[in-house]
Symmetry: C2
Subunit: 133 residues, 2 copies
DNA sequence: ATAAAATACGACTATAATAGTCCAATTTAC
DNA sequence: GTAAATTGGACTATTATAGTCGTATTTTAT
C-alpha cells in the first residue's frame, strides 16, 4: 500500500496557506477553518513543522506561524519523515537485527526489497514540497 | 506510508515454495507450516492467486497448487492489485468524482499527485515477482 | 460407500495504525 | 487580568489490516 497520511496532506495544505500569506503570520485557526482541517490535529502538525524549523511561530495573541525555509529544498520524503511513523516497505527493513525474521538466513526477498525501498525513497526525495503548492 | 501488506509478503513466500517444487503440487498446509504463515490466511491468498490464474489448483486428497504462469511477467504491481485493496496515494485519486474534495476547484495537489502516483506505479510495474524469489 | 485430506467461501473477530478529540498550560498584546 | 494564540500530553474513535472460525465441496484411497 502506498498512501500519504492525512498528516502529510494537511501539512501540504497548511504550507500552501502560510506560503501564500508571505510575511504575514497565519494562525492555526485560520488554516483549520479555511480548509476544514480538524483544529487540534492541525495544531500538532504545525508544531512538528516548527520543531523541524520549517515554520517559525510566535505565541500569544496575534501569534501564529510563518515560513522559515525554502520549500524548494524540502522533499516529500522529508515531510513524511517528519510526520509519519515509518516508511519501511517490509518489516525486516526497519528492524535492527533480523533475528526474528521467519525466513532466517534463507531469505531471498530482503536484498531486492531493500533496493526497491531505496528507489522509492529516491523518487520521494526528488519530489519537492513546492511542487504540490 | 509505503508498505507491503502481509498478504503480498506471504504470497511471495508461497510462490517461492511453489516454484521451487517444479511440477510437484504443493499444499497450503505445507507452505503454511514451512513458513509460519497462518493457514487460513494463506489459503485465501492462494485462492486469489488461483482466480487470477497465477496458480492452478487440484482439489481433494493429494490436491494442492502448482504454478500456472511465468513469474517473470507478473509484476509486484500486479500482485498488489490482486491482493491489496487500494493503491491510491491520496483519496481524491481513487474517487470517481472529486465533488467531495475539500479543496474543490482550487486544488494544487491533485495533478502533481497523480503524476507521482504514476511514477510510483511504474516503478512497481518494473519489479517482477521473480526478482524476489 | 465412506473417511480423509485437500481446496473453496463467507462471516466473523482481533490487532494495529491512523485520525481525531479533550483538557490544561503557557505566552503575549491590549 | 483577560482574550487569543501556541504548546503539550493523554485519551478516544475509526479504519485498515491481519487473522480466525465454521462449513461446504471436491477428490481419492481404501
Amino acid at each position: 500500500m502506498i498512501k500519504l497520511s492525512k498528516k502529510v496532506e494537511y501539512a501540504l495544505m497548511a504550507l500552501r496557506s502560510i506560503k501564500g500569506s508571505g510575511e504575514n503570520i497565519v494562525t492555526a485557526k485560520e488554516i483549520s477553518e479555511g480548509h476544514n482541517i480538524p483544529y487540534d490535529l492541525l495544531a500538532k502538525i504545525l508544531q512538528k513543522l516548527k520543531k523541524e524549523n520549517i515554520l517559525i511561530s510566535t505565541q500569544g495573541i496575534n501569534g501564529g506561524y510563518k515560513l522559515n525555509t525554502d520549500l524548494n529544498i524540502i522533499s516529500l520524503s522529508n515531510l513524511m519523515d517528519m510526520l509519519e511513523d515509518n516508511k519501511a516497505i517490509v518489516e525486516c527493513q526497519q528492524m535492527k537485527t533480523d533475528s526474528d525474521c521467519i525466513m532466517l538466513d534463507d531469505c531471498t526477498m530482503k536484498n531486492p526489497m531493500e533496493k526497491m525501498q531505496k528507489e522509492l525513497e529516491s523518487l520521494l526525495k526528488s519530489k519537492m514540497v513546492s511542487e504540490f503548492l
